[in-house]
Amino acid sequence: MEGIYFDNNATTRVDPAVVEAMLPYFTEQFGNPSSMHSFGNKVGLAIKKARMQVQELLGAEHDSEIIFTSCGTESDSTALISALKAQPERKEIITTTVEHPAILTLCTWLEKDGYKVHLLKVDGKGRLDMAEYKKLLTDQVAVVSVMWANNETGTFFPVVEMAELANAAGAMFHTDAVQAVGKVPLNLKDTKIDMLSVSGHKLHAPKGIGVLYLKRGTRFRPLLRGGHQERGRRAGTENTTSIVGLGKAAEMAMEAMHHENTEVARLRDKLEAGILAKVPRSFVTGDPSNRLPNTSNIAFEFIEGEAILLLLNKFGIAASSGSACTSGSLEPSHVMRAMGIPYTAAHGTVRFSLSRYSTEAEVDRVIAVVPEIIAQLRKLSPYWEGDGPAAEPEKAFAPTYA
């Protein structure tokens, strides 16, 4: 049996049509788009086409608002550092506790240079407190960076509304939309979003290609300086093959947008309901009524996520977990902790993320396998007794050193 890949928020398979579009640019069309001769010329045209395909997917007003970068992380770093460099009098950043490390680790590092970073808290369902946000929006804030959709739970943040507020306060607004692009319809020309990050490998394009959307007129200071590529805003010879691939992938994502939000969402809902119905002491994390159509994050209490993944893997099922062990850190996912999920559940969270390639048969198979796996691990758990948790589980087992 082929494996069941339900880890599309981590990365996606490159669509065969994307590969096909890319191939000529490794061989016949290998030229440098900056060159004067005809080897380069065609490549330049292909990049122009890709830029328009991405523009279309983002609903951007101009194709010159699309800057190709090397990944989502580069786009995030470029956006934040540019905003700080362009407005040296403003020393504060607003972001959230549940951002991707591409933002959070960068902010921790910027703090050492004297910037003040405000982290917006979330509630039990991963939602922001708008009153807190409004209070923090002062004329000291250089940039607000809030993700469009959370990579672990899929929960959306109200970025369009938050961008309006930032704009009114004179602050720039950036959103890490790495998980949203290709899964939800976007129309950036009608928003006040100044900057937005995209990563190709989340929408069936290759790894190592990204986009920074930069609204015309937004003050900008490049991170990589050198040649005049990308109008001097991102120096370095273009990754032509991947840019062509991302263009094709953007076009295909547009075509699949309806499917993604109906059929993929239906499969996700079926998977989730099927698991919850059969596994006691399990629950969905995040905000189920306001999230990506492909993502379901389920906490299985009293067991640990890495162990679940290893057993799933044995059945050919790929997913991911917020447990500490899967990342080699000492704490479970910061997203789960920020939502106040107790440790006994946070370590046992599993994220299933589907794609347009997911099938009904795969969903049925996972629904059939998961309950066995959970039961098997609970048999080993000191918090579990027979068919249910030990009476007062936290007292029944209270290990030394917490």
Partner: protein
């Protein structure tokens, strides 16, 4: 995905001695639920002989935590309590053909559960001085707490010092930024500021050994692993000692086989424990060296 040995996988997929042990007379609960690893070890001890008749476990934890628990119960069954207490965390890791550096704490937890269960059987109070920090150096599995404590206790002020005292930073060097951050923090507590150009302290504490004593110690360690190598049809020989680099030649079935890097890593670990200094073991054949010293 972690690079687990077949032995770890085997003990995870088919754990031995899992579940409640009826009639247990020694129980140890250790671990930390915030870190996501906790273990209950249950022993049935024969009072007249102190022999462990049976051992079971229940574990909340990852693949290697479950495998380490399973391995531990297998290792201690049939032993007397005093014999069992000699099982070190390195023994547990060795029994499983090694654990990834991020997972060494799983074997430590097994060892501590054993101490706790024995104390419980003997009616003693077991207190633990275990404090675990975030893993800083992956090459040598050294965490932040260990580095911080060592800097404080020895008044260290350079990355080289930290490497000399804890080994952290002595491999691929990717963790030097992390070590510098800890230095900045601890040094500011004692009113100093970190200076990247500072001279390291004198050489690492060598326990005042002469060269001859050192070489004898090295020989003794190699001697102690030789029977095991011979059983697998191989051998090891000391060729030269040049400061912190120890050159050896591997012969027989072990040489070049996949296990070589693993074996060398184990021997290197033992040597470092014995000599109390950071050393690097280098096989004379090219190739195995990089694998043995550092896997970032």
């Amino acid at each position: 995905m972690w690079d687990y040995s077949d032995k770890v996988k085997e003990h995870f997929f088919e754990p031995r001695n899992a579940g409640v042990l009826e009639g247990a007379n020694g129980v140890g609960d250790v671990g930390s639920i915030s870190c996501g690893d906790a273990l209950r070890l249950m022993l049935k001890v024969e009072p007249e002989t102190d022999i462990i008749l049976d051992a079971h476990f229940q574990t909340f934890g990852c693949g290697s935590a479950i495998a380490s628990s399973s391995a531990l119960t297998e290792m201690i069954k049939g032993k007397t309590l005093d014999e069992a207490l000699k099982v070190s965390n390195q023994d547990i890791a060795d029994y499983l053909d090694g654990l990834p550096p991020e997972k060494m704490h799983c074997s430590v937890m097994g060892r501590e559960a054993l101490q706790a269960a024995v104390a419980n059987y003997r009616g003693e109070e077991w207190s633990d001085d275990h404090e675990e920090g975030a893993l800083v150096c992956k090459c040598f599995a050294i965490d932040a707490v260990m580095i911080e404590d060592t800097i404080r206790a020895n008044n260290l002020s350079s990355v080289q010092d930290v490497t000399n005292y804890t080994k952290a930073g002595g491999g691929c060097s990717s963790c030097h930024e992390g070590i510098e951050e800890i230095l900045v923090k601890v040094m500011s507590e004692r009113g100093e500021s970190f200076n990247p150009g500072a001279q390291p302290k004198e050489e690492a504490p060598k326990g005042g050994m002469t060269n001859l004593q050192r070489i004898k110690k090295i020989e003794a360690v190699l001697e102690s692993v030789r029977p095991q190598l011979k059983r697998d049809g191989g051998d090891i020989e000391l060729l030269d000692v040049d400061g912190k680099t120890i050159y050896v030649s591997m012969t027989g079935a072990c040489a070049g086989c996949q296990m070589e890097a693993l074996t060398l890593q184990g021997i290197q670990q033992k040597l470092m424990e014995e000599l109390k200094e950071f050393i690097k073991i280098v096989p004379t054949k090219a190739g195995a060296l990089s694998r043995a010293s550092c896997q970032p």
